[in-house]
Assembly symmetry: C2
Homo-oligomer: 251 residues x 2
Amino acid sequence: MTRASSRRPGPPTRTERGIPEATVARLPVYLRALTALSDSGIATASSEDLATAAGVNSAKLRKDLSYLGSYGTRGVGYDVEYLRYQIAREIGVTQDWAVVIVGIGNLGHALANYSGFGTRGFRIVALLDADPNLVGERIGDMEVRDFAELEAIVKADRVSIGVITTPAGPAQEVCDRLVAAGVTSILNFAPVVLSVPDGVDIRKVDLSIELQILAYHEQRKSGEAALPQVPELPAMNGLTDLPSVGGGVGA
Amino acid sequence: MTRASSRRPGPPTRTERGIPEATVARLPVYLRALTALSDSGIATASSEDLATAAGVNSAKLRKDLSYLGSYGTRGVGYDVEYLRYQIAREIGVTQDWAVVIVGIGNLGHALANYSGFGTRGFRIVALLDADPNLVGERIGDMEVRDFAELEAIVKADRVSIGVITTPAGPAQEVCDRLVAAGVTSILNFAPVVLSVPDGVDIRKVDLSIELQILAYHEQRKSGEAALPQVPELPAMNGLTDLPSVGGGVGA
DNA sequence: CCGATTTTGTTCTCACGTTCACAAGCTCCT
DNA sequence: AGGAGCTTGTGAACGTGAGAACAAAATCGG
């Protein structure tokens, strides 16, 4: 989010060609909904239809689409095929992106086999691992190659996206190597916070965090119904037998 | 104009017991950072230290923690163990949550084997699949059971969290069954928008969407440097050879 | 015992995102 | 042809979140 060059106090601002991040995150959802409608043989859909299919509010959907341009027809709706193409073009999935997966454990395996992956816009060009026991193993129609080949592969296949499915330990080093090799977008499944230089985008998928967020809300639900005897914060005021902040010995 | 001082003029308000959603999403990150510090033998950490480890701004971290209570010591910092416990308690991972995984394909396999899963706060109590060929297969120390047993398992083990790793097709039906059985939190890996009744929380993990978001930004990067000849929206005005909105055969 | 130093907790301001509400614009029917 | 009826695109209000800045509180040295 290094897009802070908009000092415009003015109203519209138009953001030149900048689409809000929240909107970008929803475009793929719209794209999927449109594809489903298209497969069902539906040629035209209103913002209400689309919003329902995408699981969002119709006003939000219309505003999101308005950032791309005026691709609808008032009184009618959106042409499914046409809008689908426009969104695909805006996202960039009309071209193919070369992807490498690093770390062929359970998750790497699963991703390598995931079909809906290469079908639309993304092409896995290599599966890499540093473990010599894994190198050479066949997965689908691909073969696991040595992580040392990374630089050559990135250069040869113009790889711009790297997926990290290693354990937490080696993740930062793998990340550094990817960046050094020229990869500028990284999808990280390892449970660590990776640091990357400016100009490199990174996104994180973290199962454990998602579960914990669910647990928080779940605890709320049970708590309201059954266990209202939570300590609550003011109770801390009197507590002196806690791990003795800062000293233990002194004070 | 309209200083928006409608209801509460704005004192503390304390929000009763409500923690902002954005903060809830970061608490697990802080928890992980604290665990790492704890494992390194560090007993006390300042907000600056913690923020660096968690990859956020220190002011944000302090504000986040302030929603939980005053667990720090001015001039000193936070006691790592104590704060870790408080956050864990707030999230709810001091107790164990029973989890079922439905759909034992590649991804389900990977999750079932994922160790960092059951280690902290979550216990996988069943792996379920409707495919008779899979039922009975052993994965780690568990055995795949028939999806028909869902209701009995949820009731017996007080399962509150369900993970859906089926293909898109059966996902909504699986979801409905989970909800009907009493599951109130769902983590969905299937590439569809699931609808659930009020009171049920749902979170989504979608590889394909993450990649598309990366592709969007990647296209931007290349575009700024090399391909500035994108059609751009006003070009559509003259286009009449597009899929003929609304016309065609029948409506 | 007091002042200097450190670091938290909180306030204030600004930017972003969501939702409402409605005018503009298109189609269809009379 | 002209008006009725829809549906889009957008302006404006509202709510949430981020970050800077500072006052309050705790330790430590003299």
